[in-house]
Structure formats: structure tokens, C-alpha cells
């Protein structure tokens, strides 16, 4: 049985007195897509760059395709595709020239002209890199990551700065990679992206893993942790509602006008909520009972404060 695509155990990486990654472990199975989620500064890029061999672990072990990414860099690099977070081309280079150069480094590259076309860069072939839009630069970077037909690709915030059409294209590409047996480690802070693409999600914060599982496992309901949401005018006094609800229920307003009732949500609870709204003379909109979203999980685990 071949080694996992990525296996990180107890990784620690410090910058001076700052510990960017603090005992992190994760595993990407062959042919699987792992979504690495976390707020800004959580250690996502540090983790990825350590796997790519650009950073040296202070302690812990990192194995990528069974190799040490620093000591075995020469053997590993031809087998992986890397999309760094921002940059990655000469300021004056044209998209096709850059992709041709990266393609020349591979034994069996995809057709660069085809890839340029697929990624919607055909209209910008004469434009120097520094004058491409952020989304175009990202698409060229993605093309460079894929052109060598790698076994494993690292995508560091692949859809940052992309419009919705381009984002959808990236999702289709990642799905195609997965279908063709390519392993993928992607970082994102878009929950929707992780939910749509990842077989497994690892949420990290302050350099530590705070959750690890399939999207289904992470958002699974516990009987006493069901959710009822509705929208109404913001800032209503929910004390009366809380009093009318069964013991154990909680009422919060996580966003202005967006109300959340958590606890054991049964038909009686729904009826109590709508009755209270009627008393208040407000129409409860978008009322729904459902599972937690990955975003709920993420915010519960990493807090709601803004990160610098």
C-alpha cells in the first residue's frame, strides 16, 4: 500500500517568538481532497509551505508522497503541483510564456494552449503578468500548478480574488482532478468551497487542529443541538420567547435580524416561535429548521472576533 499523499505529525513551526504552527497533524489520503480551513493567521500557509519543502519544520514530521519535502525536494517537486498564495510569475511575462516555461519542466505536460483556453486567459495572452487582474493572475497560477500532470496539488486559497464564474470553474477543475485520482490539499476560508469540494475538512486555529472530519461529520446534528432560523426586524427583545420555549433552548441573534434558536427543535418549538412573532406583529421570513452549516461549526470553534 502506497504512503498517504500527505502525512503531517505534530508539526511545529516558529517565527522568532511567534508559534505559527503548534503541534499540527493531518493526513491527505491518495486521491482525496482535503480542505484546510482557518481564520487569517491560523497557520494554513505555513503548513502548506512546509509540505512543499519551502519551510523547514522546527519539530514533528512531514511526509509528502512518502518523501521528506526538504531532504527529498528534488525527487518530490516533479510529482507535485503548487499554486502559491499570490504571485508566481515574472512581472513582464505573458501568460503563455510563463505556462510554457513551467510546462517545459515536466515530462508529460498538458497542452499549455488548451489550459490557457480552459482557464479563460486566451484574451490576455499579450498582457504582461503585472497588468493582469488578480483573478487572471490566480488562474495562470492554477494553470502552472496543473500543467505538469502532478499526483498531488497544493492550492493555497485558489479562488481568492476570483469572480463567481471563475470560482465555479476552479471547483469544476478540482472535481475533475479528484475524479482522475489526483490528491488535493486546498486552503480556503470559504465554507461553501470546503463543503462543495472536500472529502475531509481540517479546521485549524492558532496553529492547532480544532476539528477534523468529513463535512457531514462536522455538521452532524446532535439531538439537543438542532437549529431553527428565521429573519425578522433586528433587535427584538427575545426574553419572552425564551421564557415560552422548553428548558434547554437558547435564542441568539448572530447577525442583525437573523435569529437562531438552538436546542431540541420539535413541532412545539416551531409553533411557539411563530406564535411569539405573531404577538410581536412581525412576519418571520426564511424560517427553517436544519443542520448546522460548516460556517456555524467554524465560528463556534474559532470565535467571532475579527483577526488581524
Amino acid at each position: 500500500m502506497s504512503a498517504p499523499a500527505v502525512e503531517v505529525s505534530d508539526l511545529v513551526k516558529r517565527y522568532g517568538s511567534t508559534t505559527a504552527v503548534d503541534g499540527l497533524s493531518l493526513r491527505v489520503e491518495r486521491g482525496a481532497v482535503l480542505g484546510l480551513l482557518g481564520p487569517n493567521g491560523a497557520g494554513k500557509t505555513t503548513t502548506v509551505e512546509t509540505c512543499e519543502g519551502f519551510l523547514r519544520a522546527d519539530s514533528g514530521t512531514v511526509r509528502v508522497l512518502g518523501l521528506d519535502p526538504v531532504a527529498d525536494a528534488a525527487a518530490l517537486r516533479p510529482r507535485i503541483g503548487v499554486m502559491p498564495q499570490g504571485g508566481g510569475a515574472y512581472p513582464g511575462v505573458r501568460a503563455a510564456e510563463m505556462l510554457d516555461l513551467v510546462a517545459a519542466c515536466a515530462a508529460n505536460p498538458l497542452d499549455p494552449a488548451w489550459l490557457i483556453d480552459v482557464l479563460g486567459l486566451s484574451g490576455a495572452v499579450k498582457t504582461p503578468y503585472k497588468r493582469l487582474s488578480g483573478g487572471q493572475q490566480q488562474r495562470l497560477s492554477l494553470a502552472c500548478a496543473l500543467v505538469g500532470r502532478p499526483e498531488l496539488v497544493f492550492l493555497d486559497e485558489p479562488t481568492a480574488g476570483m469572480d463567481p464564474q471563475a470560482r465555479r470553474l476552479v471547483w469544476d477543475l478540482v472535481a475533475a482532478l479528484r475524479a482522475d485520482g489526483v490528491s488535493v490539499l486546498l486552503t480556503t476560508h470559504l465554507m461553501e468551497e470546503a463543503e462543495a469540494l472536500a472529502d475531509r475538512v481540517v479546521i485549524i486555529d492558532h496553529g492547532r487542529v480544532v476539528a477534523d472530519g468529513t463535512p457531514g461529520e462536522l455538521t452532524a446534528e446532535r439531538p439537543d443541538d438542532q437549529r431553527l432560523r428565521f429573519r425578522a426586524k433586528s433587535g427584538m427583545d427575545t426574553a419572552l420567547l425564551l421564557a415560552a420555549l422548553p428548558e434547554g433552548c437558547r435564542v441568539t441573534e448572530p447577525t442583525a435580524g437573523g435569529y437562531l434558536v438552538t436546542g431540541t427543535v420539535d413541532p412545539q418549538v416551531v409553533s411557539t416561535v411563530t406564535a411569539w412573532c405573531a404577538q410581536q406583529g412581525v412576519l418571520a421570513e426564511e424560517l427553517n429548521v436544519g443542520r448546522r452549516s460548516l460556517e456555524d461549526v467554524f465560528l463556534e470553534l474559532t470565535g467571532r472576533e475579527l483577526r488581524s
Binding site: F54, M98, V102, C105, L169
Partner: protein, 257 residues
């Protein structure tokens, strides 16, 4: 968008070495020759000095003036592209993450250096062909005996200035590199034995300037092309020492970003 099954089936591997080197060097050379500021520095300023100093009597020089000017302009052209141009390009390439991008491919580390060296030599060849043609049009008559030595000096000078350019461009912030590379270029042009030859400088200063790569390269070209003799041993030693020290230091200090 949907993709036929098997489109991305892994087939990794390292490209052929010759092709990697060719495409890398070609890309670097094309980018240099397409960059307006680089062309100004590497071609237009040396051309202006070649024509200006040959036709105008601003500095005392033995006649025919073009014979004295051309070796100096050759040295300037090499310093401009291999040192200043290389340093600035590398500073901004690092800023744009190019080195990291290329390091993430199958391109071996030595090829990353070899490609840049090959590109630098190609750009210098273009410069010297253009400058040499203009000099010939101005009546330049180089000593045939010195042409072989000239080629050797071109290669050694490009490697030496290239190593120093990488040393400067590989470690500092792009803006700092830009400023320093231009200041050093200007100082060496005026006081480094290029515009004013070592012989024309006061004794103490001449001794120092002889030990600079700019002074040594200018003297070497002058000895080969004007006097038709084998350039002095100190020319070779000075260039080789600067190149070796610069190269070893650059290998230790150059950062990918």
C-alpha cells in the same frame, strides 16, 4: 465546465534538461530585451556614450578616439546588464514569487542558475554585436590579435558581474536593490575606471580602481583591443576573485522571496 475522464490522470516527471535550460534561458533573455528600462540601461546609454565620446572631445583620449572608447563601452555594457540589470530583475522577480514558482517545479536548483547565466551571456552577446557594429561604422579598428582574449574577457566579466548582481539582487528588498544597483553603476561608471581609465587617475586612486571589477575589465579590453596584447595577469585575477567571492556569498545569501 466538464472535463473528459482521464484529462488530469497523473503522469508526473522531470522535463528534459536541455529543453528546460533552453526555455528558461530564452524566457529570461526575451524578458530582458523586451523591458524598456533594461534596454535603456544595457543598450541606449552605452550607445550614447560610444557615439558621444567618439565624436566629441570631452575627455582627452588618444586618436582615433573610437578605438579608446569602444573597450570602455564594452565594459560598461557588461556591467550594465550582468550587474545592474540582473540585480534589479532578480529583486523584482523575487518580489513576484518567480523563484519560488520555478523552485516548485521539476527545474533543478543548478538549472535555475544556469538558465540565468545563459540568458545573461546571450543578452551581452546581443549588446556587443550592436555596439561593435556601431563602433565599426564610426571607424573602430580593433587589434585582431586581441579578439580571442576579448571573448574570454566577455565571458569572465559577465560571470563576475553576474555573480555580484545576484549577490545584490538576491538578498534585499526590490526597491533597495533598484536604488543601490543604480548608484553603484553610476559610481563605477565615473570613478571605477570606465570613463576615466586607470592611467588617468591619481596614483592612490588608480591602485584601488585596478582592484575593482570595472577597472580590471576596462583595462583588459583596452589591452586586448587597442594594444593587441594578452591582458595582464592582475586583470584576470581581479575579475576571478570578485566573481568567486561574489558567487560564494550569493549562494549563501540569496533568498527565494
Amino acid at each position: 465546465m466538464t472535463f473528459p475522464a482521464g484529462t488530469f490522470t497523473p503522469a508526473p516527471g522531470r522535463g528534459r534538461t536541455g529543453r528546460m535550460l533552453l526555455v528558461h534561458a530564452r524566457t529570461e533573455a526575451v524578458l530582458t530585451l523586451r523591458n524598456g528600462e533594461q534596454v535603456l540601461l544595457t543598450l541606449l546609454i552605452p550607445l550614447a556614450l560610444l557615439v558621444g565620446l567618439s565624436l566629441l572631445d570631452v575627455i582627452t583620449m588618444p586618436a582615433p578616439r573610437v578605438d579608446s572608447v569602444t573597450p570602455r563601452v564594452f565594459a560598461l555594457a557588461i556591467m550594465s546588464s550582468a550587474f545592474t540589470g540582473q540585480a534589479i530583475a532578480l529583486g523584482f522577480d523575487r518580489r513576484y514569487g518567480v523563484l519560488k514558482r520555478l523552485a516548485a517545479t521539476a527545474l533543478p536548483r543548478w538549472l535555475l542558475v544556469a538558465g540565468r547565466v545563459a540568458a545573461a551571456l546571450a543578452v551581452v552577446a546581443v549588446q556587443l554585436v550592436v555596439l561593435g557594429a556601431v563602433a565599426l561604422a564610426l571607424g573602430w579598428s580593433p587589434s585582431a590579435a586581441g579578439l580571442g582574449w576579448t571573448v574570454l574577457l566577455v565571458v569572465l566579466g559577465t560571470l563576475t558581474f553576474g555573480a555580484l548582481g545576484v549577490l545584490l539582487g538576491g538578498a534585499l528588498k526590490a526597491e533597495v536593490v533598484l536604488a543601490l544597483a543604480n548608484v553603484i553603476w553610476f559610481v563605477l561608471l565615473l570613478a571605477g575606471g570606465i570613463v576615466l581609465r586607470v592611467d588617468a587617475l591619481p596614483g592612490g586612486m588608480a591602485a584601488v580602481v585596478r582592484l575593482l571589477p570595472s577597472g580590471a575589465l576596462t583595462e583588459g579590453f583596452t589591452q586586448a583591443l587597442v594594444d593587441g596584447v594578452t591582458p595582464s595577469w592582475w586583470v584576470w585575477v581581479t575579475l576571478a576573485v570578485w566573481g568567486a567571492v561574489g558567487g560564494v556569498a550569493a549562494a549563501r545569501t540569496t533568498k527565494l522571496v
